[in-house]
C-alpha cells in the first residue's frame, strides 16, 4: 500500500520526462508502479471522457467516462504481447513487464494531461448552447475542435516526454527510434479500430444516445476509411 502511494506521488515525474529519473522506473517495473499508472489512466481518462460526452447528454458523459479508459486498456491488451516481442527483437533490451510499464507510463502521461485539462473543457461545455438549441451547430463544431486540439496536444506531449526515456534504456544504438516507431504504428492501428468499435465518443446530436452503435462489428475502421476515400472517385467516373 505504501509503495502504491509513493508511486502515485511520483506520477507527476512522468510529465517532467527526465530520462535519468524515469529510467529507474523501467529498470524496476514493480507492481506498485504498474498500478499507479493504471490508476492515472483510469481516473484521468474517466475525467476527460465525462467532458467529451457531456455536451451531447450527461448520460453520454457517463458512457464515455467508462469507454475512454476502456479504449486505452483494450489497445494495451491487444498489442501487449506484440509490443513486448518487438521491443526485444528490435534490440531495446526491454522485457515484457518493462514494455508493459513503458506503455502504461506513456498512456498515463496522456491521461494526466487530458485529465488536468478536463475542468477547463468541462467549463466550455457548460457554457455552450445545448444540442437542438440556437447556435448548437456552431457549438458542436467548436467543441469538437477543442477536443481534437486537446487530444493532439496531450498525445504529442506524452510521446515527446517518453521518447528520451526509451533512448536512455535501449541497449543498442538506433534501437529506440525503431521500437518507438513500431509501438506508435501498432498502437495507432489498433487504437483506431477499437475507437471505431466503441463509438460514439462525442455523439452526434441527430443520432440516438447509446453506449455503442448496433453495427459496431459490421465493418472495420479501415473499410470505412477506404469507402470514404473511393466514394467520390466512383461518383466522378460515373
Amino acid at each position: 500500500m505504501k509503495g502504491i502511494l509513493q508511486s502515485l506521488r511520483e506520477l507527476p515525474l512522468l510529465c517532467q520526462g527526465r530520462p535519468e529519473v524515469l529510467q529507474r522506473w523501467l529498470e524496476d517495473p514493480g507492481a506498485s508502479r504498474l498500478l499507479a499508472c493504471a490508476a492515472a489512466i483510469l481516473l484521468g481518462g474517466a475525467a476527460y471522457g465525462l467532458t467529451l460526452g457531456f455536451w451531447r447528454a450527461p448520460l453520454m458523459g457517463g458512457f464515455v467516462a467508462v469507454k475512454l479508459p476502456l479504449l486505452i486498456f483494450l489497445t494495451l491488451l491487444t498489442n501487449g504481447l506484440l509490443n513486448g516481442m518487438l521491443a526485444q527483437v528490435l534490440g531495446s533490451g526491454l522485457g515484457f513487464r518493462q514494455t508493459l510499464l513503458a506503455m502504461l507510463m506513456s498512456f498515463a502521461s496522456f491521461a494526466l494531461i487530458t485529465g488536468a485539462l478536463s475542468p477547463l473543457a468541462f467549463m466550455v461545455v457548460l457554457q455552450a448552447p445545448q444540442p437542438g438549441g440556437a447556435g448548437a451547430a456552431a457549438a458542436y463544431r467548436n467543441i469538437l475542435l477543442m477536443h481534437v486540439t486537446i487530444i493532439a496536444f496531450a498525445g504529442v506531449t506524452a510521446h515527446r516526454r517518453f521518447y528520451p526515456v526509451l533512448r536512455a534504456v535501449s541497449q543498442q544504438a538506433g534501437a529506440a527510434p525503431r521500437v518507438f516507431a513500431a509501438w506508435l504504428a501498432g498502437n495507432l492501428f489498433v487504437g483506431a479500430q477499437w475507437s471505431w468499435n466503441l463509438r460514439p465518443f462525442f455523439g452526434e446530436p441527430a443520432k440516438p444516445l447509446e453506449f455503442i452503435r448496433p453495427d459496431w462489428n459490421r465493418s472495420t475502421f479501415y473499410e470505412f476509411l477506404w469507402e470514404k476515400i473511393t466514394a467520390p472517385r466512383q461518383t466522378q467516373t460515373r
Binding site: 506521488r9 511520483e10 506520477l11 507527476p12 515525474l13 517532467q16 527526465r18 535519468e20 529519473v21 529510467q23 529507474r24 529498470e27 491488451l77 491487444t78 498489442n79 501487449g80 504481447l81 506484440l82 513486448g84 516481442m85 518487438l86 526485444q88 527483437v89 534490440g91 533490451g93 536512455a168 534504456v169 541497449q171 543498442q172 501498432g186 492501428f189 489498433v190 479500430q193 477499437w194 471505431w196 468499435n197 459496431w216 462489428n217 459490421r218 465493418s219 472495420t220 479501415y222 473499410e223
Partner: protein, 242 residues
C-alpha cells in the same frame, strides 16, 4: 501543494556498463523458455549451441516445437474468424509452413555456402528453424489484432489482407534474423541469403495458395484446381469487387 521527491540523478547500470551484444556467441541454459528468450533477445546464444555447443539436437527440437506451437496458435485464431472447419486452418498453416521449410533446407545449405558460411547440415537446419520459430512467435504476437479486426467485419478480403500483411512482417523478422546470424558467422556476401529469403517467402505464399481455402469456406479440404498465388489473389479481389 506537495511536490514529489525527485531523487538525485545517478548513472544507471544501463549507461555504466558495456551494453551486451545480442549476437555474441555465448552459451545458454537448456529449456524451451530460454530458447524463446534467446530468439527474441540474444540469437547469438542459439548460434553458439548450433555451431559449438553440446546440445544442438535439443535446440533444433525446441525450435521446431516453438515453430509448431506458434503456428498452431496463429492457425487457431485464423480458424476463429474463418468460415471453414476449425481444424482446417490449424493443420494447413502448421503443416504447410513446415513443408515449405523442409523443401527450402537444401537451398539454404547451398546459399549459406555461397555466402561464405560453411556449416554442417544440422546447424543449417537449426538456422532455418530459428527463422520459422521467430516468425511463428511474431505471428503469435499479432493474434489479438487479427481477432479484433476479423470479428469486426463481415468481409473476407479485410482479414485476408491482414493475414497476408502479418505474414510478410513475420517473415521479414525471421529472415532478418538469418542475415544477422550470417553476419555473426562471418558471411562474405549478403546477396545469396537475401535471395534465399525472397524464395522462402514466395514458397510459403505458393503453399498457402496450394492449401486454399484457409479463410473462406471450401467444398473440400484441398483445392481441385492448380493456380499461382498471384492469380488466386487477383480473382479474389475481382470477386469482392463484383
Amino acid at each position: 501543494m506537495n511536490q514529489p521527491d525527485i531523487p538525485a540523478p545517478t548513472p544507471s547500470p544501463a549507461t555504466c556498463h558495456i551494453k551486451p551484444d545480442p549476437m555474441a556467441l555465448l552459451p545458454m541454459e537448456p529449456g524451451t523458455g530460454n530458447v524463446i528468450a534467446a530468439l527474441l533477445k540474444t540469437p547469438g546464444a542459439i548460434l553458439h549451441e548450433l555451431t559449438g555447443g553440446g546440445r544442438p539436437r535439443l535446440v533444433v527440437g525446441s525450435l521446431i516445437g516453438i515453430t509448431l506451437m506458434g503456428l498452431a496458435v496463429f492457425g487457431g485464431i485464423t480458424a476463429s474468424i474463418s468460415e471453414s472447419q476449425w481444424w482446417h486452418p490449424v493443420v494447413k498453416i502448421s503443416a504447410g509452413t513446415l513443408f515449405a521449410a523442409v523443401i527450402c533446407l537444401p537451398s539454404l545449405y547451398i546459399f549459406a555456402a555461397l555466402s561464405g558460411i560453411i556449416l554442417p547440415l544440422r546447424a543449417v537446419a537449426g538456422l532455418l528453424f530459428s527463422v520459422t520459430g521467430l516468425s511463428a512467435l511474431i505471428l503469435t504476437g499479432f493474434t489479438p489484432l487479427i481477432w479484433v479486426l476479423g470479428t469486426s467485419t463481415a468481409s473476407v478480403i479485410v482479414p485476408g489482407a491482414l493475414l497476408l500483411l502479418v505474414w510478410l512482417i513475420a517473415v521479414f523478422f525471421g529472415t532478418g534474423l538469418l542475415i544477422r546470424c550470417g553476419r555473426a558467422l562471418g558471411m562474405t556476401h549478403r546477396l545469396h541469403l537475401m535471395l534465399w529469403s525472397g524464395m522462402f517467402l514466395l514458397v510459403t505464399l505458393q503453399v498457402s495458395c496450394a492449401l486454399r481455402p484457409i479463410l473462406g469456406a471450401g467444398k473440400s479440404f484441398m483445392p481441385q484446381e492448380k493456380k499461382f498465388f498471384l492469380e488466386h489473389w487477383a480473382e479474389q479481389i475481382r470477386f469482392a469487387g463484383d
